[in-house]
Amino acid sequence: MLNKTERQKEQILRMSGVNPLKCMRCGKCSGTCPSYDEMEYHPHQFVYMVETGDIETLRNSDSIYKCLSCFACVDRCPRGVEPAKIVEAVRLTVIREKGANHLTANEIPALLDDETPQQLLMSAMRKYSK
C-alpha cells in the first residue's frame, strides 16, 4: 500500500510525465523563471521536492498559482525535465480536489430541505467554484 505522499507523488509524476531523476540540479529553470521573485518555491525546488515527497508544502504554497506557465523552463532545461509540467501537475492535484468538493448549481435543489439554510448552500457553491 502506498501512503498518501507516495500516492500523490505517483499521481503527479503520471499526470506530468516528468521524471525528476533526470534533473541534474543546475538551476537553469529557476535562472530562467520570470516569476522567480513572486514564488516561494522555485521551479527547481518543485522538481526536487516532488522527488523527495515534500509535496504538501508545495500544495499549500502560493507558488503553484504564481507560475505563469510560460514554459521557458521547459524550453531551456538541458536535461529535458520539463519543470513547468510538474508545477502544473501539483496545481492540478489541488484544483481537482476543489472540483470534487464544490457543488454545482444543478445539485442544489436536491439538497434543499427545511433545516438547511438556502444561503449556506449557495455560499458553499460560490466559495468553492472560484
Binding site: 538551476g27 535562472g31 522555485h42 536535461r79
Partner: protein
C-alpha cells in the same frame, strides 16, 4: 581418421581428489579415433610434457586431448608441447576437468561421469580438427598520423624518434591545432605557444617526419601492416619548396576583408596568408574563395612582390599515394555552434563570446594584442560572467547540445577567471557552475586559488537568460545556494561551449572501418584495457577524437598510441590468429549480410568467375575474408544463411560434434 592420444592430469589431488582419473582415461580409450590414453600426476610438468611428446612419436598421433585445468591456463603450454613433437599446435584440445568439474562438484561418481563426457566432447572436436597455420603478412614500416594538433605532433615525434618514418596529414595550412590558439595552459599557466612551438619546429626539422599540410586523406584501402592511402594535397597556389615565409605577399595583398579563422573571425586577414607567425610549414596559402586573381584573373600583386617566385596561380589539387603499416587518428575537436542557444544571445551580441574566442582576446598574438577589450566597442569590461556547461551535459535536445561532460571547461574557465582577476583586479568576475569538476593533479588547488586568492565569484546555478540592453548584458541566473535569482549587468559574457569531434572524423572512420559512438568519438578496442587502439587492427587513437581530454591527457595518450604503433612497426611480419573466418566460395551467394555484422571490416566482396558443369563460366559475387584483419569472433558465421562462412578452429561441425558428445 585421426589418431588421438588422451592425457588425463591428476593435478595432484586438485583433479584426482574428486575424479577417478584412471576411469576417465579408461573410458576415453573407447572413443572413436583414440589410440592411446593415459593419466599422470602433473601433465604440465616437464615429465608430463615428455609423456605427451613420446606418445605423439610412438603412436604417430595426429591429435591430442589433455584433460586438465582450464585452457586459459595451459592451452598454450600444451600447444607448444605438441609443436615441439612435430604436431600442429592446433591439433590440441583441452577438456577442462578442473575449474569446470573437480572444483565445482563434490562427489566422485558425479565428477567422474562429467569428466568423461567433457573428455568425449574434446575427442569429438579433435576428430574434426585440421592443422592450422597462422597467416603472415609483411609490415610497411611507415606510420600515418591524421591530424596535426598536439596529439598528432606528439604521436609523430615519438614514432619518428624510434626511427620510423611518419607522415602527418593536416587539413589546415599549418600544424599546431587548437593548442596553437590558446593563451596559457592550466594548471601551471605556462604559455601554450612557448611549449607548443618548439615541438612544431622539431616536427618540421625531424628527418623522419613529412608534413602534408592543407591536405586530407581521400582514400584508405588495405589492412593492418599494409594500408594504401591516397592523400589529397589541396592547391595552395604557393610552391611550398620555394616560399620562404617572408610574408611580403601577405602585407601587399589588396584583399583585406577575409575573416581570420585563426582569431575566430574577430579580425581580418588577407586572401594570401600565413595563419600565424610560428606556423609550420611557414608557407603562404592563397584562399581561393577570396583571391581576386583566381576569381577574376585580374590582380597578381602577390606574384609581383614574391622575390622567390613561389606563387603559382595554375596549381591544381594533387594526389599522393603512400603505403603505411599503421594509422593514427588524431582529428581533434571543435567547440559546438552556439547559434541554437538563443537564451544566451550569442548571435545577437558581439560581447557574448565563447571561451576559445576569449583565449584569442587574451592572447598577445590575438586581435587585441592581448588586451582584454569588448569586441563591440573596444572598451575594457568591468563585469564578466562565465557560464559553464553550455551545451555539455545536455540530454534534452540532440541538435542543441551534447549529453556528455566536455571535461576541460571547468579548468579553463577557472584559468580565464583567475587570469582576468590577476591582470585586471578592478573586474568583477562571476562563474556560474552546475558542478565544478577538477579531478587531476593540482587541479582542485588551482580552482580553489581562483576563489580564495583571486576572489572569483563562483555561484552554483545556471544562467537562464542573457539579454543585451544598451551597452550592457543583463544576465539572469539563479543562485541555488542563496535561493535567490540574480540579475547582473555584465559587460562581457563568456560561454564554455561544449566540444565535439571534428567533422572530418566520421568520414575518416568510414574509410578506416573504425567504429564510432553515437557522439562521433572513435571507439576504443577496449574501454579499459586497450584505450588507444581502435577495434580495427592497425588503427590507433590519439587525443580528443577518442573523447574529451585536456593537454596532459592528450599528450600521454599520444605517447601511448605511438608506443603501440612502434610495437607494430618493429615487427617484420605479423602473425595472425589462425582461428579466423573463411568463406566457402562455392556456397557463398554474395548477399553481403556478413559484412554488415563484421566489427572489423574484414569482409570484402568481389566478382569471381566460376566454371559451370556445362563448361560455361559465370560471374558471381562472393565474400572474401581478410585473414589479417579478422579477429575470429564468428559473428559472420551466424549471419551467413548459406553456411558458406565458417570459423576455423570453431567450425559448425566441430561445435555440433561437441553438442552431440555431451548430449549422447
Amino acid at each position: 581418421m585421426q589418431r588421438i592420444g588422451v592425457f588425463v592430469c591428476h593435478c595432484g589431488t586438485n583433479i584426482a581428489g574428486t575424479i577417478d582419473v584412471k576411469a576417465v582415461a579408461e573410458a576415453l580409450k573407447n572413443e572413436p579415433g583414440v589410440v592411446f590414453s593415459t593419466d599422470y600426476q602433473y601433465m604440465c610438468s616437464q615429465a608430463g610434457q615428455d609423456i605427451i611428446k613420446n606418445a605423439i612419436a610412438e603412436h604417430k598421433l595426429t591429435g591430442i586431448v589433455v584433460c586438465s585445468c582450464s585452457p586459459r591456463m595451459h592451452e598454450n603450454t600444451f600447444r607448444k608441447t605438441a609443436a615441439a613433437a612435430g604436431l600442429n599446435s592446433y591439433m590440441v584440445e583441452i577438456a577442462n576437468i578442473r575449474e569446470q568439474c573437480s572444483w565445482v562438484h563434490k562427489e566422485m561418481p558425479v565428477g567422474t561421469e562429467k569428466a568423461i563426457i567433457l573428455g568425449k566432447a574434446a575427442v569429438a572436436k579433435v576428430n574434426l580438427n585440421a592443422p592450422l597455420t597462422p597467416g603472415e603478412s609483411p609490415v610497411t614500416k611507415r606510420a600515418l598520423v591524421i591530424g596535426g594538433g598536439i596529439a598528432g605532433i606528439q604521436t609523430a615525434l615519438d614514432i619518428a624518434d624510434a626511427g620510423f618514418p611518419v607522415d602527418i596529414v593536416e587539413t589546415k595550412p599549418t600544424i599546431g591545432g587548437k593548442m596553437a590558439q590558446l593563451d596559457k595552459t592550466f594548471p601551471t599557466l605556462d604559455c601554450a605557444a612557448c611549449i607548443l612551438t618548439p615541438k612544431m619546429v622539431e616536427v618540421a626539422q625531424h628527418e623522419n617526419i613529412r608534413i602534408f599540410s592543407y591536405s586530407e586523406v581521400s582514400e584508405i584501402k588495405g589492412f593492418v601492416g599494409n594500408f594504401d592511402v591516397t592523400i589529397k594535397r589541396r592547391a595552395r597556389y604557393v610552391k611550398e619548396d620555394l616560399c620562404t615565409g617572408c610574408g611580403a605577399c601577405t602585407e601587399k595583398c589588396p584583399q583585406k576583408k577575409v575573416p581570420n579563422e585563426f582569431n575566430l573571425g574577430m579580425d581580418n586577414r588577407r586572401a594570401i596568408y600565413i595563419p600565424f607567425a610560428q606556423a609550420v610549414p611557414k608557407v603562404a596559402t592563397i584562399d581561393a574563395d577570396y583571391c581576386t586573381m583566381l576569381k577574376t584573373g585580374k590582380c597578381g600583386v602577390c606574384s609581383k612582390v614574391c622575390t622567390a617566385g613561389a606563387i603559382d596561380y595554375q596549381a591544381k589539387d594533387e594526389f599522393v599515394e603512400e603505403k603505411y603499416g599503421a594509422i593514427v587518428a588524431a582529428t581533434g575537436f571543435n567547440p559546438i555552434s552556439m547559434d541554437k542557444f538563443d537564451e544566451y544571445a550569442y548571435s545577437q551580441s558581439k560581447d557574448v563570446i565563447t571561451s576559445l574566442e576569449f583565449e584569442r582576446l587574451t592572447n598577445a598574438a590575438g586581435p587585441t594584442a592581448g588586451k582584454l577589450l569588448r569586441p563591440s566597442d573596444g572598451e575594457h569590461p568591468h563585469t564578466i560572467v562565465f557560464v559553464q556547461c553550455v551545451g555539455s551535459r545536455c540530454a534534452a535536445c540532440a541538435e542543441k547540445g551534447k549529453e556528455y561532460c566536455s571535461k576541460i571547461c571547468c579548468m579553463y574557465t577557472a584559468k580565464h577567471a583567475m587570469l582576468t582577476r590577476d591582470k585586471y583586479p578592478d573586474t568583477d568576475v562571476y562563474v556560474f557552475y552546475i558542478d565544478v569538476r577538477t579531478p587531476g593533479k593540482a587541479f582542485d588547488e588551482f580552482y580553489r586559488r581562483a576563489v580564495e586568492e583571486y576572489g572569483v565569484h563562483y555561484i552554483k546555478g545556471m544562467v537562464g537568460k542573457v539579454s543585451p540592453e544598451g551597452n550592457k548584458l543583463k544576465v539572469q541566473a539563479s543562485d541555488l545556494i542563496a535561493g535567490k535569482q540574480l540579475h547582473i549587468d555584465a559587460d562581457l559574457v563568456v560561454l564554455a561551449a561544449a566540444i565535439e569531434p571534428d567533422k572530418s572524423a566520421r568520414p575518416l572512420a568510414t574509410m578506416l572501418t573504425a567504429s564510432m559512438d553515437t557522439n562521433d568519438f572513435f571507439t576504443e578496442a577496449h574501454p579499459k584495457l586497450r584505450p588507444v587502439e581502435s577495434p580495427t587492427a592497425g588503427v590507433f587513437l590519439s587525443g580528443t577524437c577518442q573523447g574529451p581530454k585536456d593537454i596532459p591527457e592528450t599528450v600521454s595518450q599520444a605517447g601511448a598510441a605511438a608506443s603501440k604503433v612502434i610495437g607494430l612497426l618493429a615487427k617484420d611480419k605479423l602473425t595472425g590468429n589462425p582461428c579466423v573466418a573463411h568463406s566457402d566460395e562455392n556456397m557463398c551467394n554474395g548477399c553481403s549480410t556478413c559484412g554488415n555484422v563484421c566489427p572489423y571490416g574484414a569482409i570484402t566482396y568481389e566478382d569471381k568467375e566460376f566454371r559451370m558443369p556445362d563448361r560455361t563460366t559465370k560471374m558471381r559475387r562472393i565474400a572474401v575474408v581478410n585473414e589479417a584483419v579478422c579477429q575470429g569472433c564468428g559473428c559472420c558465421t551466424v549471419a551467413c544463411m548459406s553456411g558458406a562462412m565458417d570459423l576455423k578452429g570453431f567450425m559448425n561441425k566441430q561445435i555440433m560434434a561437441e553438442v552431440d558428445a555431451i548430449c549422447k
